[in-house]
Amino acid sequence: MRVVCVALLLMITAVLAQNQTGVLRLRVRVKLDDASPLRGLPRKRFFLIPGTLEQNRALIDSIERQPLITRDCYYQKLGASAALIDWLKDGDCESVYCRAVEKDFVTGPKAVPEFATAFTASQKEYGNDETARQWLTTNLTPDLRDGFYRDRQRALQALLKQAPAVQSVMTDHNGTAYFTDLGPGSYVLTNLIPTELGQTLVTWNCEVQVKAGDLATEKPYLVSNRKEKLVKCVSVEKPKPVCTAN
């Protein structure tokens, strides 16, 4: 029986060796504070850059040095209402596109002032309430609408210029994502732009070894902001900067 198992394993290994690409099964699990349980970090982009940390030193330095404005500070600086800032925060949104604007937020006690104004303009323009609500973002100012997202994209694109042949994936609601069709070798796993997590900014820059193999054989690569069992990549955390006055 043992001989059969060994033969089987050898055959599987031989098959794997023929398959020259590898997979990284990413699992991002974070804690908001020490008392909270680990939970999946949903809807965040991660990047895989060929080479070792040392080979990507210049990029890592740029990531660590980049000035960054938080969502709250960005919108406070714009003079956005507290209701809009809370609405964005509630969905962990970088722009107003990330949540459907429900009726409650257009009229009534929970209404977000910016949405209410845009809704009124849309009613006049589009002629019916439902279209006005669904097309509401067309009557928001560009900065309120997606200025923060565009700011972060600019920072991201500037960093990506230093990193050719990057793969990028977004985590699902469990914090899982897959990098596939990877040539075996060293890579740097990074989120490039710090993720806002509670009162901290979290950055991951870890070196990963990818071996030939496929999903059936690949174990999850656990990423977290806490050094716990099985965690292979721990983040660097910084406190969120205090928002400066206008």
């Binding site: 596109y97 609408r145 609601h173 059936a216």
Partner: protein, 289 residues
């Protein structure tokens, strides 16, 4: 020799209109004079552009073709009957005609911005892909076909806006056709299936693991690895749907895998990935005695 040349020229003059004359029953956006700003002819209307340009867009240059005979060929570009007494138009755009524009669509950016968009998609209450990809059939999801899907954000201000057609539509080098439906390997999968508990209803990226990588629509594949299926369908103590069919092939090399596949796929050699999942060495049907 002297007489041959005029004769040849005479023949050319006779043949030219037949061979080289424009075919006015076909409209091409790549014709130089058709490359003006889109709103020269197309009127952008809320919430979608659903009809062909008016006659005035064509007649300013094509008056002779408009009044040529009882059934002018030029009418057939937009009209289902080439008769001045019948105004019926073909659907816009005409699905029977080749596509002349490609679509530039940054798939990843759209995933980024709508990523947290919440919908009442029980039981998960998330499903941002459904913003664009609704249910087409029990088997397949739909893709956006109208401008309405875009204009709710891109009507104005957010580029590319409604009158910036070129922001999304690029003239293709040659007209082309697209397949009406994607080729499905596991033809029997039902998105809303998975038994009474509807276990197939999951976040799209649970199975479409590469979809968040795509930066455009080119080469976009809804590829699903076998592991997405076998998490339930080939698990010890749960089900052995894959292993059972591999065993059936061992017994009869002409066995058709039918649990997931239609015969066109089910008669092929199972790929290596299937054997890996079943923890067996891969074999070819021809090697089975």
């Amino acid at each position: 020799m002297i007489r041959i040349k005029p004769f040849f020229i005479f023949i050319l003059i006779c043949v030219y209109p037949c061979v080289f004359a424009a075919d006015y029953s076909k409209f091409s956006h790549s014709t130089q004079k058709h490359r003006a700003a889109c709103d020269t002819c197309h009127k952008i209307k809320l919430p979608d552009i659903t009809d062909y340009p008016d006659h005035s867009a064509c007649v300013s240059c094509h008056r002779p073709q408009f009044f040529r005979g009882a059934r002018p060929p030029i009418c057939s570009v937009c009209h289902s009957k080439t008769s001045p007494r019948d105004e019926a138009r073909l659907p816009f755009r005409n699905p029977a005609s080749n596509l002349q524009f490609t679509i530039e669509f940054p798939h990843d950016s759209h995933q980024d911005v709508i990523a947290m968009l919440k919908f009442s998609h029980a039981p998960q209450n998330y499903y941002s892909c459904a913003v664009c990809h609704g249910q087409r059939t029990a088997m397949f999801k739909a893709v956006p076909t109208g401008h309405e899907s875009c204009f709710n954000c891109h009507w104005k201000s957010q580029q590319p806006v409604a009158d910036n057609c070129n922001g999304c539509h690029k003239l293709a080098t040659t007209p082309y056709t697209t397949k009406e439906a994607p080729v499905r390997i596991s033809a029997k999968f039902i998105h809303d299936g998975g038994g009474e508990k509807k276990q197939h209803v999951a976040e799209c990226t649970t199975c479409h693991i590469n979809i968040t990588k795509a930066t455009s629509l080119r080469g976009l594949k809804p590829d699903v690895p076998i592991t997405s299926c076998t998490e339930c369908h080939n698990k010890d103590g749960l089900r052995q749907d894959l292993s059972k069919e591999l065993v059936a092939i061992d017994k009869d090399r002409n066995f058709t895998c039918v649990y997931c596949h239609a015969a066109n796929v089910g008669n092929l050699d199972p790929p290596t990935s299937h054997y890996l999942i079943a923890e067996r060495p891969p074999i070819k049907r021809k090697d089975i005695k």
